[in-house]
Amino acid sequence: MPWQTQDFAATSGPTWPRESPLALGVRRILRKPSSRVAFFVLGVIVLVGLLAPLVAPYNPAAQPDIVGLKDLPPSLAHPFGTDPYSRDVLSRVIFGARVSLMIGVLATIVSLTVGVAYGAIAGYAGGVLDAVMMRVLDAFLSIPRLLLLIGVLVAWPRLSIGALVLFLGLTGWFGLSRIVRGQVLALKHAEFVTAAQALGASRRRILWRHLLPNLVSPIVVAATLGVAHVIVLEAGLSYLGIGVPQPLASWGNIIQDGADQVATLWWMSLFPGLFMVLTVMTLNILAEALSDAYERR
């Protein structure tokens, strides 16, 4: 008979992507027009932040005329108006992009590092250690992040920006580490891990070479959302006066500068806020597209 016998399992084995998950994600999401727009907008904002000194029409700290140019509503010369110190709000927003984005990215890196390490250890170790680590995580998760940060920042008044980044990062890894733990738990008994163990690979090597690459997609999604979250948090804390130290301009700080006179200086709240919403929105769109892309894989 011409019919050949074939093994079912052969067709259902794991298929490995030939490109890195990150590149795959980016390629996938760029297929959607909405994420292309988001990618572009975010790119422009990041670029504007990076090139702030070249892009900003004025020196963000200069007070050219504290009597004649203060509190000006938006005009052609000052599209976003001026603040009570005659500084150009547009230039401050542009320089603020730098600070806000930098804090968002750096704090997220801290979160990712801690979150992945914690989750991977808990998931890989299992047993009592895992149980204890998870209960501690539950406790951290049940403290609203803003409240926790308020508690910390009130106890440590007048923090440097580096310390602020650290605290923002250290309060942002709880959710991610839970995902990582779940993934590690699911993967650690996968055949390829068993195979690696059988081949005598060390624990660290298994974690690093075999498990971590499989965590890329949740990490990328969490990172994207994390940056968005930190930007909003930082702005909120700055608005409450315990965030980025003045006179550094962050988006939250600019709003705080005008908060006392919202009614008369509305442009100081409106424009930085719009930039913030735009940034956060694009990040959310991209995160959504990324998680869609990875899900479809």
């Binding site: 200069a62 203060k70 110190y85 005659s86 006179q261 009614a263 008369t264």
Partner: protein
């Protein structure tokens, strides 16, 4: 005295009119005065009050023995009008004054006011366990004796032109029976602090923290009933909200308008503004001593020439115009123009940036690094300027100053602190520089505490910058001990000239208080030290009343003692 009695008679008639059959339009009592304010009172105990809201409210609830006149004449007792004391007599050597308590004066709980209450007020304020900020202000009073229940005798350490003022102005009288069993440390937290009992024309109804304080007319007051039957302080979380409530008609009065609000108020035809020359001045205070070690001079501000250079580098006129527009004048020195003893033409250190740079260069502070901050022996010319975060005006001044001094090569780090934290830091002399403001008293003698050597050495003294110059002290002392106005003014001028040239501070602004009020209010005069002093005489015509004026009196609390009950 005669005038006083006449006034009381009039008040009594008005009260009769109220209960009688006359039509309501014929009288001018009743109605509600709603005051917009941007902060909660700190406490409602006169000897502990530090906030302006607290002062306004306690001044309504509590009475002094006598009150200062609108001209703020503080010399002897000529300018004073009777309050709890219906008359007083000086001893022959003028070292004691016997106050006779008005026999009709009663606490709001029904008990009569006695001389022992007066003695208790002074004694408790002097008790260090209470920590009253008023304690240094009554240091000239030795003690109070009570020969009988109606007579309180103040004993003074020395004869001075303003000893009467010291005795009556600083402290309203508080009831001994309410406070005597509470240890001083527990006063703030006590129930009594939350339900103050006074003898003033308004009695306390309620205090909803961060929302409202409400007082009602004490209709049986010994001075007669006040005109407004209710006073409500509507406490907003911030200035913006306070302003909005005023503009929307939710309140009738706002005590401090900013220049940028004037246009908005002008858009409301029913609203009015009025200027009041309040006794305030603002300044950048330097700490002349090293914050780390008080025995040493400050590494930067210890140098008089440097301080003068910083003053020269500051364009004060522009600064004041930027922050206050027309609602402030440049400050002259540690004084205000409202004092008759102040010469408005005091010579000043002029704004001269090139000269300031020259001086700094000559002092060895040179620009060496690329960031254009001066330094000397590797130490940058950099300092921290602390401001209370609650005061936007001072924050604004600080940020503007930061930029102006940057142009002279000086790096200023602005630090916003919460008010109590800042005060504590200054009290400990643990600061570099700060933007300060004194709301001074009717007497220019207050400078002794805020800029004199005495105020520098004493731990509770207000001379936080530790400016000490015996020449200045001597001129102030001479001024205060002379009874002759011209001599007083001459000595004060010498004193001010000395301190201005020493530049322990950059004198910034003398704000002009601008109040906003609804045109339905009929205001009496406003005293510079306390615009609220005459609130009991403000009134509202019957035809201009709105629903809130006719609120039922149901919320008036019953007196603690049933009417008519006599106490032993």
């Amino acid at each position: 005295m005669a005038a006083m009695r006449y006034a009381r008679l009039l008040c009594a008639l008005v009260v009769c009119g109220c209960v009688g059959t006359e039509s309501p339009s014929a009288n001018n009592t009743g109605g509600t005065l709603a005051i917009s304010t941007g902060g909660d009172p700190d406490v409602l105990i006169p000897s502990l009050v530090q906030s302006v809201q607290g002062a306004q409210i306690t001044d309504m609830i509590y009475d002094r023995l006598a009150d200062i006149g609108d001209s703020l004449n503080i010399v002897n007792d000529k300018g004073f009008t009777p309050r709890l004391a219906d008359h007083w007599t000086w001893s022959a050597d003028s070292l004691s004054i016997a106050f006779h308590i008005n026999q009709k004066a009663k606490w709001h709980d029904g008990l009569p006011v006695r001389s022992s209450d007066v003695r208790f007020t002074i004694a408790s304020t002097k008790d260090s366990a209470l920590g009253s900020p008023a304690a240094p202000l009554i240091s000239s009073i030795d003690s109070v004796s009570t020969p009988d229940s109606a007579t309180a005798v103040y004993w003074f350490h020395a004869r001075s032109p303003q000893q009467f003022y010291d005795a009556v102005y600083q402290l309203p009288i508080i009831p001994e029976h309410v406070w005597k069993n509470i240890p001083p440390a527990g006063w703030r937290a006590s129930d009594a602090a939350k339900n103050p009992v006074g003898s003033g024309q308004y009695r306390f109804v309620r205090w909803i923290p961060r929302a409202a304080v409400e007082l009602v007319a004490d209709t049986t007051n010994y001075r007669g009933a006040p005109k407004f039957s209710r006073l409500i302080w509507s406490i907003a979380p911030d200035f913006s909200t306070a302003l909005t409530r005023f503009l929307s008609g939710e309140t009738d009065f706002l005590e401090q308008l900013r220049p940028e609000n004037l246009a908005e108020v002008a858009k409301h035809p029913e609203l009015r503004t009025k200027q009041n020359h309040a006794l305030q001045y603002q300044f950048t205070q330097f700490n002349l001593r090293d914050p780390a070690n008080h025995a040493r001079p400050h590494p930067i501000f210890g140098n008089r020439e440097l301080r003068r250079a910083l003053t020269m580098a500051t364009d004060r006129a522009t600064l004041v115009r930027s922050v206050f527009d027309t609602l402030a004048l440049s400050a002259l020195g540690p004084t205000v123009r409202a004092y008759p003893t102040t010469d408005p033409n005091l010579p000043q250190i002029p704004f001269d940036l090139p000269r300031a740079r020259q001086i700094l260069d000559s002092l060895g502070w040179r620009v060496t690094t690329s960031d254009s901050v001066r330094s000397r022996n590797g130490r940058p010319l950099e300092f921290t300027l602390s401001v209370p975060s609650s005061s936007k005006v001072r924050v604004q001044l600080a940020v503007l100053l930061q930029e102006q001094l940057r142009q002279a090569g000086v790096k200023v780090n602005v630090e916003q602190l919460d008010f109590p934290v800042l005060v504590e830091k200054m009290r400990k002399r643990a600061f570099d520089a700060s933007i300060g403001q004194w709301n001074t008293q009717p007497s220019p003698g207050a400078v002794r505490g805020s800029w004199g050597t005495a105020g520098s050495r004493a731990t509770s003294g207000n001379n936080y910058g530790s400016y000490e110059n015996p020449v200045f002290d001597a001129y102030v002392d001479s001024a205060l001990s002379s009874f002759e106005p011209a001599t007083r003014k001459a000595y004060f001028t010498k004193a001010y000239e000395t301190i201005i040239q020493d530049a322990p501070a950059i004198w910034l602004a003398e704000p002009i208080q601008t109040v906003g009020y609804h045109s339905r209010l009929q205001l009496a005069t406003m005293r510079p030290d306390a615009w609220w002093a005459h609130i009991p005489e403000w009134w509202i015509p019957a035809d201009k009343r709105i629903p809130r004026d006719n609120a039922p009196p149901s919320a008036t609390p019953a007196p603690a003692l049933p009417a008519g009950q006599k106490t032993p």
